[in-house]
């Protein structure tokens, strides 16, 4: 009888110490503690401040372009011959992904706190671009840390950030991916505590980041829930999203968590397969540990050293996952499955040809799972998938892998 009792609501977390069950928390150096306590205090106030919420909503409408459409993918549905497939079109947002939802929210917090400099980490460069964008819009200098490997494979986004006035600092430590960029951003923050706001790009890190990023991204799920009720008169049977750090996924999942009939599926990067270390499936193949301020599932060895992982998609190339996902997995409310590089690439092409939408490689992972599941479902069942970003940034990577001339 060791099973944890199911909570009354799956949407009440985290507790005041930032815990989702055993996950989350505040595992940071003392230098940063006063800062994250300040941020928490400011967030509590902003959350309940109608003026803050009004500004957020106004920028959502006029700057981001919200609400994003919920689109019935008719030809894909027909092609797969099963459940009806809807896309939540986050790729139509300003800057081309869901990342901007969080950046607009956090830059307003930075402004409230009187900070004058923004730092961010980025993997695919989508968060870096979104950060550079809001920094330009609000007149902040912005430094983006990006792994050297990612600088190379996401070159178009590096150029966009520079155009927007951000300084992009390549990080050569480790494999030069998102984890290393995050370490370097934390080092910058510890050094520049007085004036600097750390704009974390995913629903991970020390409390209150996982909570506030989730809250800013939950607009995705709130809209999707209303839109599907409007379109179909009922809730979907399944909601699917790709999981890197987990922000687009928790954003669409959270408003559905207490709808018992809605199955929740997170898709991790299976890379080249789960046997070795060439994947980023933290939940499927990792173990609980502590990194970057929170306890969560991590790719690590028996000595607690963090492993580097691999994914064709820079945005999923992270050895951890947001703590709320770890909790949702442990209590069984959500299911997490891996999708291999090649399956994501196939899905990328299917969508391009059938629907005329070039998806980013991150949501292509979610799409690959949809392609597996939809045919096994009844035609009156409904899947909502978060199409978190557009694929313009990935065309060079895809061309190289498919051996196509540009």
């Amino acid at each position: 009888m060791n099973e944890t009792p199911k909570p009354n609501s799956f949407r009440a977390g985290p507790d005041e110490d930032g815990r989702f069950g055993i996950f989350g928390g505040r595992f940071v150096a003392e230098t940063l503690m006063p800062l994250i306590l300040d941020l928490q205090g400011e967030w509590e106030k902003a959350k309940n401040d109608p003026a803050f919420q009004a500004e957020l909503a106004d920028l959502g409408t006029h700057y981001i372009g919200r609400p994003s459409p919920l689109y019935f993918a008719e030809r894909l549905t027909e092609h797969l011959g099963g459940a009806k497939i809807y896309f939540k079109r986050e790729e139509l947002n300003h800057t081309g992904s869901h990342k901007i939802n969080n950046c607009i929210g956090q830059i307003l917090l930075a402004k409230r706190m009187g900070k004058t400099r923004i730092i961010a980490e980025t993997g695919a460069g989508q968060h870096g671009v979104a950060s550079a964008t809001v920094a330009a819009r609000f007149g902040f200098p912005c430094v983006v840390y990006m792994g050297a490997t990612d600088v190379e494979r996401q070159a178009p986004n590096v150029f966009r950030m520079k155009l927007l006035g951000a300084e992009v600092i390549p990080v050569t430590a480790g494999n030069g991916t998102l984890k290393d960029a995050m370490n370097e951003a934390l080092r910058d923050w510890v050094t520049n505590v007085e004036d600097t706001y750390y704009l974390i790009g995913t629903a991970a890190g020390p409390h209150p980041y996982p909570e506030l990023v989730r809250d800013f991204q939950s607009v995705i799920g709130k809209e999707a829930r209303e839109q599907i009720l409007e379109a179909e008169g009922r809730l979907p049977d399944m909601v699917i999203a790709a999981v890197g750090g987990g922000s687009n996924a928790i954003g669409i999942f959270h408003p559905f968590l207490d709808d018992a009939g809605v199955q929740i599926v997170g898709v991790e990067a299976g890379g080249r397969g789960l046997q070795g270390v060439e994947h980023c499936a933290s939940i499927t193949a990792g173990a609980p540990g502590v990194l970057h301020g929170n306890r969560t599932y991590l790719l690590q060895d028996h000595d607690g050293q963090i492993l580097e992982g691999h994914s064709v998609s820079a945005g999923l190339d992270y050895p951890g996952i947001g703590p709320e996902h770890s909790w949702l997995h442990d209590i069984g409310r959500a299911e997490y499955v891996p999708i291999m590089d090649h399956e994501a690439l196939d899905a990328f092409q299917v969508l391009t040809r059938l629907e005329g939408i070039i998806p980013a490689l991150e949501p292509s992972h979610a799409l690959a799972e949809v392609i597996k599941r939809a045919p096994k479902m009844r035609k009156d069942q409904i899947i909502v998938m978060n199409l978190s970003g557009r694929g313009d940034k990935d065309i060079f990577t895809v061309a190289k892998i498919l051996g196509m001339d540009m």
Partner: protein, 279 residues
């Protein structure tokens, strides 16, 4: 709390000088060389040893300590081997306090209870775990104190008077004052600012206050030691090791000797500290 730690601070105080606390990374560049370094430290004038536990993602460390950790991990160092290092050292030295310093994840994965038992068996006197602030005391601090191991906390320039009592509440052994907002290996700030901070902390606690981050030379040690109960040197030692290695990163012919030379100089610095203060 542990006898070794209190005795050592009392002895140093009786000599009218601050303690020299030396940090190196366990297993850098390999187990045997690093054991050689550890054994040589007390003779060179180190009063307390900080034994670094390598971690793949040292978020509060600069490049020198990061690379030391990478070298150690590459040579096969693990937490269990770092405990072995301490145990081997204890075979010939039962007086010098050993403080293990690092990040939480390897300890968490090892298992907190097992780690504490093994640390006691290896003769460890204290722990510094960078990513465990007071808000996380239930994880390791409380269990460590219950078993008689010191939990040494970092206080920083951002730890204001309002927060200091929280930070000091479960701290034992000594307080480690981080001289600046930043990572290890940064430049040393103005010693008079540091003296002010040490005084501020001493207004809240009777524990010895040691200062680290940025101390690299005998002159630094002398200047900081004028106000602090101890001076911590890390990056300079780690860089000395790095500079002594062969091209392929293996131990050089005088890796141990070059550390000894550096530490001797630093020891002269701390011994001169109070003479200056008295002037």
């Amino acid at each position: 709390m542990t006898v070794r730690m209190d005795k050592r601070f009392a002895a140093v105080k009786a000599e009218g000088r601050p303690a020299l606390v030396t940090y190196f990374m366990g297993g850098d560049p390999d187990f045997d060389t690093s054991l050689g370094i550890m054994k040589a430290l007390p003779g060179a004038g180190s009063d307390i040893i900080e034994l670094g536990m390598p971690f793949s993602d040292p978020m509060a460390d600069g490049p020198a300590v990061q690379m030391a950790g990478q070298r150690a991990l590459k040579s096969g160092q693990t937490l269990s081997k770092t405990l072995d290092l301490a145990a081997k050292f204890r075979e010939t030295d039962n007086d010098t306090p050993i403080v293990m310093m690092g990040y939480y994840n390897p300890i968490y994965v090892y298992g907190v209870d097992k780690f504490l038992d093994d640390a006691i068996a290896a003769g460890i006197d204290g722990l510094i775990v960078v990513d465990l602030p007071p808000e996380m005391d239930d994880e390791l601090c409380i269990p460590a104190l219950a078993k008689g191991i010191n939990f040494i906390r970092l206080a920083t320039p951002t730890t204001d008077d309002k927060r200091l009592p929280t930070v000091l509440k479960n701290t034992s052994g000594f307080v480690y004052y981080v001289s600046m907002n930043g990572i290890t290996g940064s430049a040393l700030p103005d010693p008079s600012l540091i003296a002010g901070a040490v005084k501020r902390i001493k207004g809240h606690t009777d524990l010895p206050v040691c200062v680290g981050f940025g101390v690299k030379t005998a002159d630094h040690a002398k200047a900081i030691g004028a106000s602090a109960d101890g001076v911590v040197v890390g990056t300079a030692i780690v860089q000395q090791i790095a500079g002594s290695l062969t091209k392929d990163g293996k131990a050089g012919p005088d890796t141990v000797a070059s550390v000894v030379t550096l530490v001797r100089g630093l020891a002269t610095g701390v011994r001169a500290a109070r003479l200056v203060a008295a002037e």
